[in-house]
Amino acid sequence: MALLETENLVKEFGGLVATDEVNLSVEEGERVSIIGPNGAGKSTLVNLITRRLDPTSGDIRFKGESIVGHDPHEVVQMGVSKSFQTASIFSDLTVRENAEIAALASEHGSFGFKLLEHRDSLTGVHQVARDTLDAVGLLDQADRQASDLPYGDKRRLEIGIALAAEPDLLLMDEPTAGMSPEETEATVDLVEEVKRELGLTFVLIEHDMEIVFRISDRIVVLNRGQVIAEGTPDEIKGDAAVQEAYLGGVEL
């Protein structure tokens, strides 16, 4: 059984069909990249899966269960986490608190009545937050205010928050957008490391073809809301339809 499946997923904005009968299936442990030209419907697809948008028709199943009709926080609690395209962090909180918020949600659920319990007693939360910050290389900056971090570190923290939620499936929306080549390199290393250590399933949306070909097991190509090709990086490189639609016919 696939970890994540979409079935004839359609999203229309007025007359515009952003996602057109998309059937996507992601197996456990797989790294799938979704690529496509601007306006192909990549972000819409991610927003549908994370329940930020309601589909016009079709179904989304996670671990065999339909998630259409669930709130975003419920989908996260089921194990789907998302890292945002921009550094969507809690600026006024410390780096450590940023990770702890996500760890709290994963360890103690979407809501609790622990309003009289001191934070110091939540050892599980502290451990997860610590491990996550260590994994993304921000542990030595844990007590800094998040807004003081340089941009690249903010993006790493963003990924850290997504990881601290302890997901089974991580959706990454252009994790290297706006990063310098060095930061990009470090982020790709991070993704590979996380994949190796945690055995996470990834769905990656990315513009940088170099990264896509390097870290994907499988690539799904979207154009005008439809899947036009699907396959291993090598298959996609050789696919004529993809080259025409997305790579502009340029020989790779």
Binding site: H73, E97, S106, K114
Partner: protein
């Protein structure tokens, strides 16, 4: 054995003592903060109204000291909502006034015990906050502010005429019958021995103990997971939802908690004045608590209490012609000037200014 209970025991630091005391054990700097608060509460009425020289300069009086604490509790709870969760309610008069009426009516028909009156008023305020929060929190920002305002004004209207047979309408509720504390001590009577010099009346002691408990409660909430979640929601609501937190329920809890503090304060207000004015439900009361909180400094526990003190001082002392006789008729103007200048010069309020000074003196160490 599973590792779940083991992890829980590891979290306790004080062995068997901590196990019995459980979550009530002071942690971190809670003991220090509580002690400091207790000391300030103990000397405040003396310095304010009886100390030689100082009290002559301040022109304070006992009853105002009590009133400052009561409004301080109200503002403290209000800031949990405004300063931490980032929600501006413009209808907190509903909880303050609602609790006042509830406690007053309770004293007339059930029991005049001050403790039970506070309990009754607070329970009423919490239930009301639950209900109004459930309806108002459907919308954010300005819509939330307007919805809370509208609900509070509905309450004002209800008590001014349709429910006048209970509330006394325009005249306010005059049937408050407060009994002795523990059945022994009349609240307006003086405390024995040195306590009389320090604290003055039983009423002040009663209010001060509750204020101390409220500070302890607020401080603990801010250092529980809730404090962190509230700030996270204020900072980035969408992200909070996308790490898997039920933002809506946490917001409702924040609203109910601030309603709880407003309820405690409103009940004490009745005991203090033995009267519920209709204006306690009016929108100006909601406005006053906003001004006190912002003046004192949002996002801090003690700032709003200081704000309440400054506000009430201008309203009660300066308006009476102190220190200058000629300013008395212009006290509203003075209050406006104090507010504008404070926010202009110290955007984070009076308490924010204190913090900046401390950081400057200690070199930024916390």
């Amino acid at each position: 054995m599973s590792d779940e209970p083991a992890a829980a025991t590891d979290g306790e630091t004080g062995g068997s003592f901590a196990d019995t005391v459980g979550i009530w054990m002071p942690r971190g700097d809670e003991l220090r903060v509580m002690t400091a608060t207790a000391v300030v509460l103990a000397v405040f009425p003396f310095v304010f109204s009886r100390m030689p020289v100082v009290s002559d300069l301040l022109q304070g009086y006992q009853s105002l000291a009590t009133l400052i604490l009561i409004w301080g509790i109200f503002a403290l709870g209000f800031d949990l909502l405004l300063g931490y969760t980032g929600l501006l309610s413009f209808g907190h008069a509903a909880f303050w006034g609602g609790a006042a009426y509830a406690a007053g009516v309770f004293s007339q028909h059930v029991s005049g015990s001050p403790i039970l009156m506070v309990l009754a008023g607070t329970v009423f305020a919490v239930l009301l906050a639950w209900f109004l929060g459930f309806l108002s929190l459907r919308r954010g920002g300005i819509y939330f502010a307007i919805l809370t305002l509208a609900f509070a004004q509905m309450m004002f209207y209800m008590s001014s005429s349709p429910l006048a047979f209970i509330t006394g309408g325009e005249n306010g509720f005059t049937g408050v019958e407060t009994a002795e504390l523990f059945g022994l001590f009349p609240l307006e009577s003086e405390l024995p021995l040195v306590l009389e010099t320090l604290l003055g009346t039983w009423l002040y002691a009663f209010v001060a103990v509750i204020a101390l408990l409220c500070v302890a409660l607020g401080y603990r909430i801010l250092h529980s997971p809730y404090g962190m979640v509230f700030r996270a929601i204020r900072e980035n609501e969408q992200r909070a939802e996308f790490v898997g937190l039920n933002v809506w329920r946490y917001r409702l809890m924040s609203f109910i908690i601030s309603g709880f503090f407003a309820g405690v304060a409103g009940s004490l207000f009745v005991i203090h004045g033995t009267y519920v004015p209709l204006s306690s439900l009016y929108w100006t009361t909601s406005g006053e608590v906003v001004i006190m909180t912002v003046l004192g400094g949002t996002g801090s526990l003690f700032g709003p209490v200081v704000g309440a003190g400054v506000y009430l001082y201008v309203e009660n002392i300066v308006s009476g012609g102190h220190p200058f006789e000629f300013v008395a008729p212009f006290w509203h103007l003075i209050l406006g000037l104090v507010f504008v200048v404070t926010i202009w010069v110290f955007p984070r309020g009076i308490w924010g200014f204190f913090r900046d000074v401390r950081d400057y003196v200690t070199g930024g160490e916390d």
